[in-house]
Every structure is written in C-alpha cells, then in structure tokens.
C-alpha cells in the first residue's frame, strides 16, 4: 500500500469531497422540503393529490437511482436543446453540467423515500395532541406548523438519520454523469498511477468518517428533544 500520491492529488481530492458533500446537502435539504409536501398530500390531500403523490413515491422508490439519473442526464438532457433559445439563456451554463442533473435526480429520489418516512410519522402523532391544539382554537395551518409537523419530525428523527446515510452512499453514482466527485477523483488517480486499491481505501475512509459524523449528530439532535416514555 502506497499513499505517497496523496501529496500530489490532495487539492483534487478536496474539490471532489466538496462536490460529494454539496450533492448530499442539496439533495437532503430540497428533498426534505418536497417530502413534506408529498407526505401531507398523502395523509390529508384529496383523492387526486393523494394518487399523484402515491404514484410519485412508487415510481421513484421502484426504479434504480442510476436509471433515474441517466433518464434525466441522457434523456431529458438530450431533449433540452430542442427548446428554442435555451442555449442563449442565463441558465444554460448550469443546465449543461452533470452536477445539475445529479443534484436534481438525487433530490427527487430522496424526496420519495423521505415522504414515505414522514407519512408514517404524521400518522403516528397521537390524536390527543392534535385535538388539544384544535381545542385551543388553532387553525389547521398553525396546528400543522406548531404541533403536527414538529412532532412527526421528532418521531421520524432516527429514520431520517438512516435515510441521510443511505443518500450519502448513493452519491458516488454522480461520477457516471461526469461529476468530479470524490469517487471520480479516485478513479482518475487509479488511471494515472495504476494503483488499484489505495484510492478506493481513501474514499472509503472518507465515507466512513462522514457516516460517523451524521450518526453522531443525529444522536445529539435526538438527545436535545425530551421525549416522555
């Protein structure tokens, strides 16, 4: 095992790690926001909204992330230039990048899984607490904002931690659409130096550390919210 290549490649490794982490952060934050909408649509939406949200979750949970990513990057990506004027528009430099497609598909995918978790949690909030809120004269929106959603998130917290780790483990897929994430950097190092395992070991250690950090922060977060048993 030789690790002397790290000294030559560390700036590249750092940018790769940064790309990986930003993909994770973007998909988790935006995915969570979409997931809240999807979960409420399923729990308290009308029949049309409910069916749409159900269909969304079934589709994104039932197909591999790799296919979704390629569907967006190759499929939608090849259809985009057909739209007149898009090449001249402000957004073209972003729309051209693999990173954009990776971020969008990871977000949509994470939203589907997270919506399922939140749906269960919303249903698990004790009825009495919602009734108490209503008895205080809370409007549905206030009730949701102050009681229903926060309680549901608290209930779902351990599962959310797990989902974020799963999402982290999905990020190396981005390299298949030309994103220079940490895994892609490792692949480049493997091609340059002909080392087979060492770059993979470095990436693995990085992922283990991030997983440990996520697990720790969620344990900390859970400890902040007292829960009566």
């Amino acid at each position: 095992m030789t690790f002397s290549w790290i000294s030559a490649y560390w700036p590249l490794l750092l940018t790769g790690a940064w790309q990986t982490l930003s993909l994770l952060a973007i998909s988790v934050v935006f995915g969570f926001i979409i997931a809240i909408g999807l979960a409420f649509a399923q729990v308290s939406g009308g029949p049309i909204l409910r069916t749409l949200a159900r269909g969304y979750c079934t589709f994104f949970r039932g197909t591999p992330l790799l296919i979704q990513l390629w569907l967006l990057y190759y499929g939608v990506g090849s259809l985009l230039p057909v739209i007149p004027g898009i090449r001249q528009s402000l957004f073209w430099p972003i729309l051209r990048e693999g990173f954009f497609f990776a971020a969008v598909s990871f977000t949509l995918n994470y939203a589907a899984y997270e919506a399922e978790v939140l749906r269960g949690a919303l249903l698990a909030v004790p009825k009495g607490e919602l009734e108490a809120g209503r008895a205080f004269g809370m409007r549905p929106f206030t009730l949701t904002r102050r009681i229903w959603l926060p309680r549901a998130i608290r209930i779902a917290l351990p599962t959310i931690g797990g989902e974020i780790v799963m999402q982290l483990k999905a990020t190396p897929l981005a390299f298949t659409v030309t994103v220079m994430d940490l895994y892609a950097v490792a692949t480049k190092v493997r091609q340059d130096t002909l080392l087979v395992y060492e770059p993979l070991v470095v990436v693995t250690v990085f992922y283990l550390i991030i997983t440990a950090i996520i697990a720790r922060s969620f344990r900390f977060l859970e400890a902040q919210v007292p829960v009566r048993r």
Binding site: R61, P64, L200
Partner: protein, 241 residues
C-alpha cells in the same frame, strides 16, 4: 418530440430493428443476477446470523467487521473494489497453484459481489428475526429432546420466517436495484442494455423511461408475491386488532 407514436413502437419492438428484445434480455439477466445474489446472500446471512449468535468470540468479531464495513461503504465502491479484488485474488490463488490465470465470467462476478453485499444485510435481518422468537418455544423444543438440527428445521426456521420476511423483501427490492450498478463495471444487464440502445438510436429518453417501467413492474410483481408469501407464513398467527 420529433418521433411519432408509431416511431416509438418501432423502437421498442422486440424484433431486431427495434430494441425491445435487447431490453428484455437485459431484464432477464437483471433478474438472474438478483436471484443468484439473493440466494448467496441468504446462505451467507444464515451462516452469519447463527455465527453471531453462537457466542464464539473471534467468529463474532469477524462477522461484526463484515457487517459493519459492508453496510457503511457505498455499494458502488464495494462493487468496484470487490470486482477487482475478487479477480485479482482468484488469479493470484491460481498462480500460487501454478494454474493458468483466466478472465472470470462477468455474470459470476456480479452475482458473487452482490451476494457478498446482501449477506451482510441478511445477517442482521436474520439475527433480529431469530432473537424475536419467544424463548419459550425453543425451550419447549429442547424439553421435547429435539437436537439442534431438528430444532432449527422444525421450530426456529418456521418461527423466524414471519419476522424476517419484510426485511428479506426489502433486501430483494434493493438487490434488483443495486444490480443496475453492475452496469458501471461493464456487465450487460438492463441498465447497460438501455444505455446501449439509447446511444445507438439517440432516443435516450424513451429507452430510459421504458427500462424504468420494467424495473417498476419487477418491483410491483415481487411486492405482490412477497405479500402472498407473508400471508402464507403468518397463517395460524393471531391477527392484530
């Protein structure tokens, strides 16, 4: 879109000018890889669960290492790493035995690698399922004088199935989807077949959508089958109110 609906049907037709046949062959090898990996995982998982519960300390530590690393490392890295490590290791072993090196069949490598990954998850699922069996049932079996083998076959196995089945169903779903990752190391299953079809016709969108729906159909059918299976293994159990 430039293509008419007639064009789409032509593209997806199962006979040579269309690519439907290629996609379906890809789907068949996806199912074959997943099934092989699932079975290997089941074997490794049963061994792993029994080993973890056996109380032999070094064995337990070894299995602990196996399950934690496999579950913490991204699947793609595992697949790529094991792919090369497996090939390399086998060829070195063959060299040590002074046998000629050979190129492994991609199918066997895919099944072995995914099976190894599945085994780690199965170990945990089965361990939990065994622990959830009421101790009294096993004690009763012992009191009747059943040996360990008979006890496993008659009591532990039927009692752990209802507990393990939901977890096993999840693992089956994840292996059908993980098998798409094998495309990255170049074995042709559904995902790679789709990319090939897309690349040679430039109709990426249609083909990826089609293969997404093939995966979806696979998921929905297996979901239904697992539900039937669960009803079968739960027969005779009291229903929750």
């Amino acid at each position: 879109m430039a293509t008419s609906s007639q064009g789409i049907l032509d593209l997806l037709s199962p006979y040579p000018p269309g690519w439907g046949g290629v996609l379906l062959t890809g789907a068949a090898s996806t199912v074959a890889i997943s099934a092989g990996a699932f079975l290997i995982g089941l074997l490794l998982g049963t061994g792993g669960a029994l080993g973890k519960l056996s109380g032999i300390r070094p064995l337990r530590l070894l299995l602990e290492l196996y399950t934690t690393t496999v579950r913490a490392v991204p699947e793609l890295i595992l697949i790529v790493g094991l792919y090369y490590a497996g090939m390399d290791g086998l060829n070195r072993l063959l060299a040590a035995l002074s046998l000629p090196a050979f190129e492994l069949n991609g199918f066997a490598v895919a099944v072995a690698v995914l099976g190894f990954v599945q085994g780690a998850y199965m170990t945990e699922v089965l361990r939990g399922a065994i622990l959830a069996i009421p101790v009294g049932q096993i004690e009763a079996a012992k009191a009747f004088g059943m040996g360990p083998q008979l006890r496993f076959r008659r009591i532990i196995l039927p009692a752990l199935l209802p507990n393990a089945l939901p977890g096993l169903a999840n693992l089956w779903m994840s292996v059908t989807k993980d098998s798409a990752l094998v495309a990255v190391v170049g074995y042709q299953e559904l995902a790679l077949a789709t990319r090939l079809a897309g690349a040679s016709t430039k109709h990426y969108f249609i083909f990826f959508l089609a293969s997404a729906f093939i995966y979806l159909a696979l998921t929905l059918v297996s979901n239904a089958l697992f539900n039937l299976l669960e009803r079968r293994v739960r027969r005779g159990q009291p229903k929750l109110a």
